[in-house]
Amino acid sequence: MSKKSDSHSETVKIRDLDNESLVSLSNRMRLALSEGEMSQLRSYFTNAARDPTDVEIQAMAQAWSEHCCYKSSRFYLKKFLSGLRNDSVILAMEDDAGVVEFDDSHAYVLKMESHNHPSAVEPYGGAATGVGGIIRDILCMGAQPVAVLDSLYFGDPSFAGDDAGSHSTRFLADGIVRGIRDYGNRLGIPTVAGSVYFHESYNRNPLVNAGCVGIIRKSDVVRSRVSKPGEIMVLVGGRTGRDGIHGVNFASRSLEAGDKESSKSVQLGNPIIEEPLIHAMLELVDQKLITGMKDLGGGGLSSAAGEMFYAAGLSGTIDLDRVLMKEEGMKPWEIWVSESQERMLVSMDPGSLERSEKIFRKWDLDYSVIGSVKEGDNLVLNYSGEKVLDLPLSFLTSGPTYVRNYHDGNVDRTSVIPEEPKDYNAFLEEFLRSPNVCSRFRIVREYDRTVRGSTIVSAETGYHGFTSHSDSAVIKPLPDSDRGLVLTSGCKVLMTEADPYAGSLISLAEAVKNILCSGGRPHSLVDSLNFGDPENPQIMGELVSSLRAIGDFSREMNTPVVAGNVSLYNRSGEVNIVPTPTFMMVGIIDDINKIVTPEFKENGSHLFMVGRIMPTLNGSEYLRHRRYKSPGAPFCDLKELKAISGLMGRLTADSLILSAHDVSTGGLLVALCEMAFGSETGAEIDLSEIQGMRTSVKMFSEGGNAIILEVREEDRERFLKECGDLKPIYLGKTYGNSISIHDNGLQVVNSPVSRLREIWSTGLENVL
């Protein structure tokens, strides 16, 4: 590199470099670009007959990172996920978040994103900024954020870290939960739902998937683009510092042992700035002062400004020296790619500046006018009057698309059925205590779930003193409407591990069942796809299978996919994470007075099961608990799920069900226990009506569409008539205060609910 004495940028001589030197340059400058990509840059500048500045080369690396341009997944995303929309969709896969109709005059905004790599090296800051980032994604559409969801995936609870610098699961889980708690609680946005899963493949690479939902008047939706030449660009909120430099480049490669080099890639959050930022932005939207808005997340100013100009077919000039800084002496390229948090970029008519400034001052926010919009294709960056970048946006955004090779793993279609446990009562206690079956109270109770006063159902439900988990959270976003949003997120990890295609369908079906069991109807979907190293064809095959499943599901169930995020290179050393597509689904309930929760409501009512249980233990928590490796996952019957979906709508509308809970992790037995935990009531169950499988399969099979419903004696006939061809199976009655299970004339389980509840409730306290 060479630098003229009075210049603010350096010239990077790449035209004369051979391929080997290009690679070492990429490593030295931490660009994370491949040899092919570097030589593409070389040919561009050879044609342009000049060498790039360091600002230009850093900007290119940023724009072409996996994180920003989805180079490994774009081809397949387009192939499988385009056109998955319906009439209720207002914006899908276009801007920072999806926008879907809520009622005649309002829309809801949703998005989920991963923050895996930062959380692996600095769990507290990584998770906190994950929450801050996803809230800004919702905010930048002009919407008021109303709820946060988190799906977390941790390593084996006993993993104690290693001397190469990997943290223990306990340290990571503790930091991540505190990070989410401190950020969400301080902003005053409730954290209402999500999922937690422990698996050894996440030992050194935990996953943090944060989702957010917001509400907005349809006429107020703000696009992530500028509108016309002459507008000014204003950067508001946090100042720009060296934190988070190269974050996206970091996220676009695998984690290495003792990744201390990553310290500068970690952003630290400051919710005390984001809170007033939310108020100020919503006031700008309300007073129609801005034409476009985008949050600064991965890729910083570089991504935000570039995309806002490019999406409008326009360009612009940015003066980097007008960006407010946290520290002195930052180089122009550092300012351009910094991922400092809590910043928003807005475009506005110059005439709106005065009124906007009043709002910024009222909320005590730093801001500066950093540039303007102009015609043409070339983006120009200046620093103290010197031009440090001059590149066509079409080139900047022309990141490579890789059609990576993949091969579909052969899925083993056999079945494993271990011998029956000798003592089911003892086994049930051990199973309820295990980290993936026990309650998540230890985590969810850290979060403020009711702030804003619009949470109708949070992650906890049940009568006073008898708490269980709800299937999904319900939010009433508008003060003068009883219409509610039903929210759920998660992934059936053992199923996707066994078969990425079938497992993704089962994960999606579970989201549907969660919404149905709360009285809602599934409405839209976003994904956060976490996979290992895409350069490995097997891993690529997992991603492709999962995408195919999402496409098939969306078309069959008429549920649009409105936004998404892909996180690749989730690999540490030789270990890739198991395929983990997290799905966040939003449902709508027309009248929140019709909400259904899982706890038993009455003593002596009937328990039915609609939807089939699969005659296999594949992909079940039971099999894993018994230390068997699972063959392929069962297939999900979407036609049946559709019928159940229709049925649940009718049953909820007619108030024919007292409680509902889907058969999920842990199977039928755990589902019944969870229904009992939320009340004082137990159940007398006879499984004999489920035919053609062993007792353990009936009790622990997962992956089918089964839902357990509680029905009053006087509603029984109407209920059966409504069910029609779905022919529910009679399980028994709510009764007494024990869980009693019979099968084929033998009593296999008989345990007091209070004892089981105590074991289940405190399970996580033993490990975290």
Binding site: G125, F171, G175, G241, S263, I272
Partner: protein
């Protein structure tokens, strides 16, 4: 009986929102002579056998600090 003090603080360049907020509020209260604030945490360990004081360093490294953003300083007294 010896005492071992461990001070854990953020590495240079890592932003500490708590310290920034304190500084900002001090200025609001009129303490204009103060430019910035740094916060660190001090742990004091009683170690009867100072030959084993190395354990404190191990605790500091493994449990008290995340070396990605924090540094620690061990002092025997």
């Amino acid at each position: 009986m010896g005492k071992v003090r461990v001070e854990v603080s953020y590495l240079p360049g890592v932003e500490d929102p708590e310290a920034i907020t304190i500084a900002k509020n001090l200025h609001i209260l009129g303490f204009d002579g103060i430019k910035s604030v740094k916060i660190s945490k001090v742990y004091e360990f009683d170690v009867p056998d100072m030959k084993r004081s190395g354990e404190v360093t191990e605790v500091a490294r493994k449990l008290l600090c995340n070396e990605v953003i924090q540094g620690y300083n061990v002092k025997e007294e």
